[in-house]
């Protein structure tokens, strides 16, 4: 149980994928204009992250290592991630067409979200167990969702604020992201990894 919480906390806050490791910045900047869209995308990405973390661990441990085919890691992980993203897109399109319209291109782009591949690769690099790998994926998903939704909320507030002309739009968003990143540095040392 302790392992579960420390892994989740470490992945979500201390080594937050977006603000500390700077992975997955594309949807972070692109899909955070509205809180609803950000929440939907973080749920979809979270599902893909956890699923691909588990599947890639299984592929690595049960297929690639016994056959000593570790060099196929990247290719087979991309296959898995692509499949997981397609499945998620299918589900979202059939279940909630409005969310599908809001997310648009960012839904299939989860496949090229480097946080997803990052989790899979970091998992195999640090030789975690399957349970730890899934916890790590879920923690990364939690951290991604937390950061994306809070950033979406901040940007929604910025829209109504009187921002100086030179900082309007993406400039103030990038500055906000930088300040959030500094704030997340405060979590360093919370969990010993």
């Amino acid at each position: 149980m302790e392992l579960f919480f420390t892994t989740i906390l470490a992945a979500a806050l201390v080594n937050n994928f977006v603000l500390v490791q700077f992975l997955g910045l594309c949807p972070f900047m692109g899909a955070s204009r509205q809180v609803e869209g950000a929440l939907g995308l973080s749920l979809a990405t979270g599902f893909v992250l956890t699923l691909s973390a588990a599947l890639s661990h299984i592929i690595q441990g049960w297929i690639l290592e016994p056959l000593s085919l570790e060099y196929l890691r990247l290719t087979s992980f991309m296959l898995i991630i692509g499949g997981a993203v397609q499945a998620t897109e299918l589900m979202v399109r059939r279940m909630n067409a409005t969310l599908h319209a809001v997310l648009g291109i960012y839904l299939p782009l989860i496949a090229s979200n480097c946080a997803v591949l990052g989790v899979a690769l970091l998992n195999t690099n640090s030789s975690r167990s399957l349970f730890e790998a899934i916890c790590y994926g879920a923690g990364a998903a939690l951290g991604f969702g937390l950061v994306l939704t809070t950033f979406g909320a901040l940007r929604a507030r910025l829209e109504t604020n009187d921002v100086p002309q030179a900082f309007r739009g993406n400039a103030i968003a990038l500055i906000t992201a930088g300040i959030m990143s500094l704030a997340f540095l405060g979590f360093t040392g919370l969990v010993r990894t």
Binding site: L69, L72, L79, G83, A87, L90
Partner: protein, 169 residues
Amino acid sequence: MLTAAATLALIAAVVGGLLWLADRRVPQRSADPVHRIEALLPRIQCGQCGFAGCLAYAKAIADGGAAINLCPPGGQETVDQLAILLGRERLALDEHRGSASLAQIALIDEAVCIGCNLCLRACPVDAIIGAPQFMHTVIADECTGCELCLAPCPVDCISMRPRLSEANA
């Protein structure tokens, strides 16, 4: 080498097979009225109904805020189908909405065209090809006759012509 290829092929086949199964099994949630309405619209996104595209118009119909006879490209046929789907009264097509229809196509007078590329950006279906400073032309098969390219043209070189049928082409 052989094992590697076989392994990748196996993984790809399993993933593809599962996706195929999911595609067959997961039901389309068709209870959503907006999407059933949108499916009846022509979806050429011409905006002549006064809404930003067919999905927006479908939402407005579903909310009860819009009449069902505002879609010129769909014609009377679409109005009738919408009336049946929604159980509303059959209306005549609103004549004031413009004359866009699939029965016409845009034609660019290439002698007058200055290659400003404004019509190209206005086209919702990418039926106009060309580059800045070059002649533009219309792909007849792609043109939906929505008339959106007429307004932005600074030299008024685009006109709407009746679409020639196969017989007299």
